[in-house]
C-alpha cells in the first residue's frame, strides 16, 4: 500500500497495518510518546491496536518530547 507519512509518499509491503504495527514498522522511537493523526483526525491511544491504516491514507506522527511541534497543527 501507498501512504503519505508526515507529507512523504511511502510504499509499504503490506495491504494494511494497524497503527501499532505501523509505528513498529517505521521504527518510531519512543512510540508511547508519539501522537498519531489519521487523515486529519487525532487518534486516541486506546484505538491504536484496532485502527487499520489502508492504501492512500495520510498519517501524521507528531513528536513533542524532543521539544518540537510548536507550530504544528
Amino acid at each position: 500500500m501507498n501512504l503519505k507519512i508526515n507529507g512523504t509518499d511511502t510504499t509499504i509491503d503490506a495491504p494494511s497495518l494497524t497503527v501499532v504495527e505501523l509505528l513498529k514498522q517505521q521504527n518510531v522511537d519512543m512510540p508511547d510518546m508519539v501522537s498519531v493523526q489519521l487523515n486529519g483526525e487525532i487518534l486516541e491511544r486506546d484505538a491504536f491496536e484496532n485502527t487499520t491504516v489502508k492504501d492512500s491514507d495520510e498519517v501524521e506522527f507528531l513528536y513533542f518530547m524532543g521539544g518540537g511541534a510548536i507550530d504544528a497543527g
Binding site: M33, S35, R45, M65, G66, G67, G68, A72, G73
Partner: protein, 426 residues
Amino acid sequence: MQGDGHECRGFNTRAAHILGSDKTPYGATNAPLYLSSGFSAESADELAERFAGRRPGYIYSRISNPGVSTFEQQFASLEEGRGAIACSSGMAAISAVILTLCRTGDRVVAGSSLFGGTLMLFDFLLQRMGVDVEYIDPSETQNFARAADGAALCFVESIGNPKLDVVDVGALAEICSTAGTPLVVDSTLATPYAAPGRRLGAHLTVHSTTKFAAGTGNSVGGLVVDTGLFDWKKCRDPEVSESAGRFGSELGFLALARRQVTRNTGNGMAPFDAFLQCTGLQTLGLRMERHCANAQALARFLERHELVESVNYPGLQSSPWHDIATKQFGEACGALLTLRLGSSTRALRFIDALDLAINTANLGDVRTMVIHPASTIYRDLSEQSRRSAGVTDDLVRVSVGIEHIDDLIHDFDCALKNGETDDTTT
C-alpha cells in the same frame, strides 16, 4: 526476553535494566551521557521538520537531551506512569506543573502541611501571579471536596515533610476526578518503591529526585510524572484541553508542559545530573528497603528513650497515620522521622552532639541527616504555617540513612545523653 510472554514486573528488575539499553552505541550497558548543547541535522529541511514535530530528534539540551529522556522513561516506568518530564529540581518540577495548569485568577487547593520550599512558592510567588491558594486539611474530605470543585489543581504530599502525615491519595483522587480537577501529589518521601504513583491513584506526581532517587546527594533534580489517570480533554484550562485535542487526551499535559513550559522557562534537568540520577535509580529499591527498616528500628528505639518527649514516624503504631500509611505503603513507611526534645536548646545541643549523623538541609541520602526545621527551612514562614506543618521549636527532623542500625542507635543514644549533660552543667 525468554519469548514465553513473561513480563518483568519486579521493581528491582525494572530499575536495574535501563529502558532502551539494547540500542545504546557500542553496546554500552549504561545509558550514555550526551554532553552536547545542540544536536545537528543532515539538512535544513530535517531540522525544520524536527521543530515542527514531524520528525523525531533532539534540538537543544535546554529542551531535551537523550540521556535526560532515558531518566524520564526509567522513572515513569517505576511510577507505572504515562510519561515524565525531568526538571532542574523538585521545586522546578512543581513550578512546571503550576505554570502548565494555572493562570491569573485561578485557585489552587493545597494540603495544609507542606514542605517549606513549596509553601514559600505558593505563598509568595503564586499570590504575586494572581493565583489564590486555599489550604485545606486533606483528612477533612468534605471540605476538600467543596474546595476541589472549580480549582485549577489540588496539591498534596503523600507523606508530609516534616509533619509526616499521610494522605489517603485514592480517596482524594476520587474527589478530584469527580470535580474534574487534577490531583498533584508530591511523592518524594514515598518514592515509587513504596507506591507507584499510578497505583496510589494520583493524576500527576512530582518528585525531588535529589533525594532518594539520586541517593547519594551528588546532584539536584526533579520530575513530574503523568500517571495517565486524568482525561486532559476535560481539563478546565482551555490550553490544556486544546493540547489534548491535538496530541490525544493522554498526552495533552505532557505535550503542553514540554512545548510551552520547560522549553521556554529553561528549567529542565541538566544531562550530567540525569546521568547521575539514572545511576542512583538503579539501586532505589535496595536502598529504600534498608532506609525504611532502619527508620522503623530507630523510631522504636527513640520512642522508648527516656530523654525523648515524642517520636513521629508513620510506621509506628502511635502515629495517627499508621493505618493509612501501612495500607498504602506496606512496610515501606519512608525514611523520615521527627523527635521532640522539650526545648529548642535541647534540640540544638542534641544535633551538635551527634557524631555520625550529619547536620544538613538535605534528606534521602545514604547517610543519616538531621536538621532543626524551625531555625532553618521554616525560619521565614509564619507561625501559622509552622504550626500547620507541625514544626515546633523543639523538633528535630531525621532522614535515616542505610548505615548499620547498631551504629545509628549508638550515635543517637550518646548524643541524647551528652546533650542532656551539657544542659545540666550550664
